[in-house]
């Protein structure tokens, strides 16, 4: 069976459900992810993000159909992992190893890993090749793991909370590496994260999960067309509220309302159109304001 990569999506889910006993961690998800995308996966804790990612990398089985790079993640796990790289959400490199030993081992275990590339990327970090993993701080372990994974010539990269434990400079360095190494139009990255504001600019698409269900999967370009954020002052607040926005929130210098679809022209005229932020949209669609906003409150 030939896998034509040109028109097939990189990842296709149809009716994907992951159940733990009676609980549905992932509930009937259907989506297609093409190549050349950076997809942000947003959701509260327990929304099903990690379960979805685990199903994609073949760690757990689900019902329904899931095809990653044209392969079945459970049945064709080894073949899939040759072209898919992922980092789970906790720093989990073997503590007994030296960084150079990890490079050696990965060279022998991963056909698409480049030791030369890994060493080049590691040189940009503050970690030495002779350092033992157990002597590194959590942030440095994450940096090493990211460098190792970036040295794999994979077509799909899955990152579960990759910037947890990294300071601002390291995060910036990671975003730069992400753009340099991964945004060539052929590879796709799926990032699950809580730091929505930081990563928003890097994304091409966003997928929001809430209690296992797919609340939204949209490209950022379409998002700007579909959702309307209207900045207004206190005087017009009531009139705008009457138009039933998804969410009302504060911004610098006043208030704003978020609508799904264009509100009537007279409502639009009452304020000025703003860029709908992912954080606000996420809050609006999942109705649980746990993600902290750093701007405007």
């Amino acid at each position: 069976m030939s896998h034509t990569i040109t028109d097939q999506p990189l990842l296709r889910a149809q009716g994907l459900t992951v159940q733990y006993g009676s609980k549905r961690a992932v509930d009937n998800l259907s989506f297609d992810i093409p190549k050349g995308r950076v997809v942000g996966l947003l959701g509260h804790n327990g929304a099903g993000k990690t379960s979805l990612l685990k199903a994609i990398v073949g760690l757990i089985a689900g019902q329904g159909s899931l095809s990653v790079l044209g392969l079945d993640p459970r049945a064709q796990r080894v073949e899939l992992l040759q072209s898919l790289a992922y980092i789970p959400d906790v720093a989990i490199l073997p503590r007994w190893a030296r960084v150079s030993e990890l490079v050696d081992l990965m060279s022998g275990l991963h056909p698409r890993f480049s030791a030369e590339r890994a060493r080049t990327l590691l040189r940009r970090t503050s970690v030495g090749l002779d350092d033992k993993v157990k002597n590194l701080s959590k942030g440095m372990v994450v940096q090493v793991h990211l460098a190792l994974v970036a040295a794999i010539d994979a077509r799909l990269l899955i990152l579960d909370e990759p910037t947890l434990g990294l300071d601002v400079l390291s995060r910036k360095s990671f975003y730069e590496m992400l753009i340099d190494e991964w945004c060539d139009g052929e590879r796709t990255v799926i990032i699950s994260t809580h730091q929505v504001e930081e990563i928003e600019a890097l994304l091409s698409d966003v997928m929001m999960l809430n209690e296992g269900q797919l609340v939204l999967y949209i490209s950022l370009q379409d998002l700007e067309q579909r959702f309307v954020a209207l900045g207004h002052d206190a005087a017009t607040a009531d009139a705008i509220a009457a138009a039933h926005p998804l969410l009302r929130y504060r911004v610098q210098g006043g208030q704003a309302a978020l609508f799904d679809g264009k509100p009537p022209a007279d409502v639009l005229a009452m304020g000025q159109r703003l860029r709908p932020s992912l954080v606000d949209l996420f809050v609006a669609l999942t109705r649980r304001p746990e993600i902290s906003r750093t701007q405007g409150v």
Binding site: Y175, I179, C183, A201, L274, G296
Partner: protein, 116 residues
């Protein structure tokens, strides 16, 4: 890292910044624009957003696509840009400013227009 406001779409904000760089003379006419990848890495934006920004500039007539070489700043772009900025100021920003000056009762002498 938080360099973008919530007023306009990201690609538009980038387009404006690049236009500002053109006006400042950072990129000369006839010179090549930085690649999508370079801009994406510098501004930490998705390359698709960068492409949209460049397309917006292209639609304004500021860039030209030389086959096989990439995007270049079109000769006359500076002039066109300055004109567009002037028009925008005169149409949108100046009336507001003038109304305010009138309200404050400030005239040309108080503004010390002749002094540097």
């Amino acid at each position: 890292m938080q360099a973008w406001n919530d007023k306009q779409a990201l690609y538009q904000q980038l387009a404006d910044r690049l236009a500002a760089r053109l006006l400042d003379g950072e990129i000369a006419e006839g010179q090549a624009m930085p690649s999508v990848r370079a801009l994406a890495g510098h501004y930490l934006l998705n390359p698709l957003t960068v492409s949209r920004a460049l397309q917006a500039l292209d639609e304004q007539g500021l860039l030209e696509n030389r086959r096989g070489l990439g995007l270049y700043v079109r000769p006359g772009a500076l002039q066109r840009l300055r004109q567009a900025e002037r028009d925008h100021f005169l149409q949108h920003e100046w009336p507001v400013l003038r109304a305010r000056l009138r309200r404050l009762g400030l005239g040309a002498e108080q503004l010390q227009w002749e002094n540097p």
